[in-house]
């Protein structure tokens, strides 16, 4: 922190401190619950809005950046994780949250998800899964069930859904939780755990689209969610986690599925050259002068 402008701000923030523009989602949209949980988690963790960045892709869910009062980066569709990678590595002192939809994350952005997970990028990724493309008015999504009928799949979707939980686990996510917009309390705890966790954490959240998905409704989810805690699931047990994410009984595990420790990308040898947390706004002019000798030595290697 070479720049004086990074002054500490007061702590003890409340829910309201993370409110920004009023959300313009449809009344009843699942995303309200997710936003609420994010705001509660931020307040309870006492995140510093000036040192937190929320990175989103494009979708109804992606619009959350405008409603959540931290620094925000609303990138292009499907590329929230790459943008977040640049942000986190350039300034590891920042808390980086990433949010978006099932299409954004598991459709167009699927490759980045796997690559971010295997790198154990230290961000918290909250996917608001409504099993449809909300913003473009209800087409099939990668998590839609086979046979799902939409205007682009009038005979039903021919594709088996992307198994986002199992893929993320295999890909190397070190924190994996499933939340539900209808259970803000548990979702808040999952998000808090994810932010505290150092490494790639995915909070896959069931967040119904009340306008375009008349199948996967709040009650549809309620009927299928199983409480992992009640089931006595041990999230540190990889085999048990694998078992949960490959369930064939049609139930959706709800809660913390998996957690493990592995050095995150920004602590890997060579990635940051040993710097703990260099601020992005490093005083380059100063470095240029103070390390001129090193720079010239490098130059003279070419002589």
């Amino acid at each position: 922190m070479t720049d004086g402008h990074r002054l500490p701000t007061e702590t003890g923030r409340a829910f309201a401190d993370f409110k920004d523009k009023a959300p313009n989602w449809c009344p009843g949209c699942g995303d309200f619950g997710v936003l609420g949980a994010m705001q509660r988690a931020a307040a309870e963790l006492d995140l510093d809005p000036d040192r937190t960045v929320l990175v989103t892709g494009i979708g109804c869910s992606g619009n959350v950046t405008a409603f959540f009062r931290t620094y925000g980066f609303h990138g292009v569709h499907g590329r929230a994780l790459p943008a977040a990678t640049g942000i986190k590595l350039a300034d590891p002192a920042l808390t980086v949250l990433v949010a978006g939809g099932d299409g954004d994350g598991f459709g167009i952005g699927l490759g980045h998800l796997v690559h971010a997970a295997r790198r154990n990028l230290d961000v918290t990724y909250i996917v608001m899964d409504n099993q449809t493309y909300g913003l473009t008015k209800g087409q099939v999504s990668p998590t839609s069930a086979q046979g799902f009928v939409t205007k682009t799949t009038p005979d039903g979707s021919p594709d088996a859904p992307v198994d986002a939980l199992a893929l993320s686990l295999i890909a190397g996510a070190t924190y994996l939780g499933v939340g539900f917009s209808g259970d803000i309390k548990r979702l808040t705890e999952l998000i808090k755990g994810a932010v505290r966790h150092e490494g790639f954490s995915l909070v896959q959240t069931m967040s119904p689209c009340v306008t375009f998905n008349k199948t996967n409704t709040f009650s549809w989810y309620k009927d299928r969610l199983v409480d992992l805690e009640a089931e006595g699931h041990d999230p540190t047990d990889r085999a048990a986690a694998l078992h949960q994410v490959t369930r064939t009984d049609g139930r959706i595990p709800h809660g913390l599925i998996f957690r493990t420790e592995r050095p995150p990308l920004h602590r890997a040898v060579g990635v940051l050259g040993g710097r703990e947390a260099a601020p992005a706004t490093e005083d380059l002019e100063f470095t240029l002068r103070s390390r001129a000798a090193d720079l010239k030595a490098l130059r003279d290697r070419f002589a």
Binding site: R6, D50, R51, H74, A90, L272, G274, L288, A292, A303
Partner: protein
């Protein structure tokens, strides 16, 4: 008529058309420079031999330009390395070779390898069989394979040939020994040599002793004018080094020829300065990561070639909409599509100018030689942060992979322009009270249209960077007047770039009838062609375009005004630079076009043929 739709008043010429019958001599044939080429299979140490010879020349105070020629496959194809040496700075191949060294039969075709009549062909007699009967060339045999085996270092065939070349060229062996020792072992005065260095020194000597003096030498070596600390490197290396000096602290990239060496250089150096260099899953990720890093205030970059650049088209708009500084380097190779990965061309210009969808104010710079590679890196980062936009830098394979000498870069003279930063400016610029943040608006109008930039961590600078059209605080808007104001401000903000950055470099004779416009690797070739044309009574002025966008309109108009004949030289088939000029300067419609698009760099004689009208050549 195809896509090239020339105006009727102008002349389009490609170097590929049949020649007019007038023979234009290659520059070496006029003296003052000379070319040596080694050819063999990849893995036979071709590039190493070339680099060592070139470095020895540079140490001795001569100028060099080294070009590599290799197929887009790993082994089995013929690879050549050509060292052109001169008494004046050069950055272009001659097109004609005086001494050819063949480690493999494929490299021993004097015609294919452009060996001049009377030139010397030094060959490994275990690999090459010379033709029966008399030839135009002097064939010199050496049993490099046998000698190398005898030395217990079968891979030292290249070094043996180097020693023999030194004798043939009349080169001082001590400098060559120095560079061989540096390459293979400890510095001489630092004690014992490594075994491989010892063996290569022996190989050098064996080669030297293995051939006879050639007198007179094939072409006298240019005079030595020793200079202190001259560097020998590629434009990619010069640019990557410049980026490091400029404070680049984040690089994400994906391998692609001929850009990869930029990433390789930064991977080795960035971490030592607290920076990050990451090879990532694809170019889409690379560009978005660099933009993310730029958003935090880091100087960030990625480099690629055509196919990767295409994948970055969407990110171009993201940088534009969020007004995030980022540097994107395009090391051009011919397209379309995968195209010719190991060849050179200047075909991405239109794409760089027009970017992805929508309208995105950005800057396009070009590098034309080693010195400008370094300074352009500094300029690129400064302009990106000053104007809060993407800066594209065009190189081409001839520069990216060619190597030459250049005076040491002036690190002390580098000045950084970090742009308008909230953290520094605070409450000025109508930004309100930075303490509370309530008054700050990231995209608010300012006198020069450049908004005040805050980055995460700036207390009170909180805002929302948005790929969707937004109001001054970043919130999505559809209000027509706000939209128009945003577009107008973004379009306006680069308006004063001519005061900050010299976009055109003028060289030569302002009063001559002839003016030439070019950018990139053709520039040094044109420089040399003009130098050769002058004694023949044809003078010209060269306009080097260091900045292609925003176009330095006024200066270009003046250039057209002062020249009766203007020639635009570029490495593509549709005259993209000329079209760009025509779109903005009415006078450009009378310009002539010289094009080349076969994958090889322009040659001096090709440019000379276009510079000298046939009547002038015979004159």
């Amino acid at each position: 008529m195809g896509r090239f739709e020339a105006s009727p008043v102008s002349v389009r010429r490609t170097v590929h058309e049949r020649s007019s019958g007038v023979r234009i001599p290659a520059p070496d044939e006029r003296g003052g420079s000379s070319s040596w080429r080694i050819g063999g299979l990849a893995g036979e140490g071709i590039d190493t031999a070339g680099d060592l010879l070139a470095k020895a020349h540079v140490r001795a105070g001569r100028h060099v330009w080294v070009t590599r020629h290799f197929p887009s496959r790993i082994r089995g194809g013929l690879t050549t390395c050509t060292v052109r040496v001169a008494g004046h700075p050069v950055a272009a191949p001659s097109g004609v070779v005086d001494v050819l060294v063949a480690l493999h039969a494929d490299g021993a075709d004097p015609v294919k390898q452009s060996l001049r009549p009377g030139g010397i062909l030094l060959y490994d007699e275990s690999a090459v069989t010379p033709p029966d009967g008399p030839t135009d060339h002097e064939w010199v045999a050496l049993d490099a394979t046998g000698m190398a085996k005898a030395l217990g270092e079968p891979r030292a065939r290249n070094t043996i040939m180097l020693g023999a070349s030194a004798r043939i060229l009349g080169l001082d062996m001590t400098v060559l020994e120095d560079v061989v020792v540096e390459r293979f072992g400890k510095k001489r005065d630092e004690g014992r040599l490594s075994e491989v260095a010892e063996k290569n020194l022996a190989a050098l000597k064996e080669g030297f002793d293995g051939v006879a003096d050639v007198s007179p030498p094939p072409r006298p070596l240019p005079p030595e004018t020793p200079r202190q600390g001259d560097l020998f490197l590629s434009a990619n290396e010069a640019f990557a080094y410049g980026a490091l000096v400029a404070g680049c602290r984040f690089y994400a990239g994906y391998p692609i020829t001929p850009a990869t060496t930029i990433m390789e250089y930064l991977a080795a150096t960035l971490p030592r300065f607290g920076g990050v260099c990451l090879q990532v899953e694809d170019e889409i990720a690379a560009a978005n990561m660099a933009i993310g890093a730029g958003f935090t205030g880091a100087r960030a970059m990625t480099a690629t070639s055509g196919p990767g650049l295409s994948l970055m088209a969407e990110a171009m708009g993201l940088a534009g909409s969020t007004e995030t500084p980022v540097v994107i380097v395009d090391c051009m190779r011919p397209g379309p599509s995968t195209g010719m990965p190991t060849k050179t061309g200047q075909e991405d210009l239109s794409f760089l100018l027009h970017g992805g969808h929508g309208e995105v104010p950005h800057v396009v710079l070009a590098v034309e030689d080693l010195a400008s590679a370094f300074t352009t890196a500094i300029d690129a980062f400064n302009l990106a942060e000053h104007y809060q936009c993407a800066v594209y830098v065009a190189l081409d394979l001839a520069l990216s992979m060619g190597k030459g000498d250049t005076p040491p870069f002036d690190v002390d003279g580098v000045v950084l322009d970090r742009g308008k930063r909230f953290a520094r400016v605070g409450a000025t610029e109508g930004a309100g009270a930075p303490e509370t943040g309530e008054g700050y608006a990231r995209y608010r109008e300012t006198a020069d249209a450049i908004p005040l930039r805050a980055v995460p961590g700036d207390v009170g600078g909180r805002h929302y960077a948005n790929s969707t059209e937004h109001d001054e605080r970043g919130y999505t808007t559809e209000v027509p007047a706000t939209r128009v104001a945003m577009v107008d401000r973004r379009n306006r903000k680069l308006g004063d770039i001519d005061t900050l950055h010299q976009g055109l470099i003028f060289e030569g004779d302002k009063d001559a009838p002839l003016g030439i416009i070019a950018f990139g690797s053709p520039v040094p070739v044109i420089r040399e062609a003009l130098a050769l044309a002058r004694p023949q009574g044809v003078a010209g002025e060269l306009c080097v375009m260091r900045r292609l966008l925003p176009l330095p309109r006024a200066e270009l108009d003046a250039f057209f005004d002062r020249h009766e004949r203007v020639l635009v030289v570029e490495g593509n088939s549709t005259a993209q630079l000329l079209s760009h000029l025509r779109a903005h300067c009415p006078e450009a419609h009378r310009a002539e076009s010289l094009l080349k698009y076969d994958g090889d760099p322009f040659r001096v004689d090709e440019v000379l043929a276009a510079v000298m009208r046939p009547s002038e050549v015979t004159a």
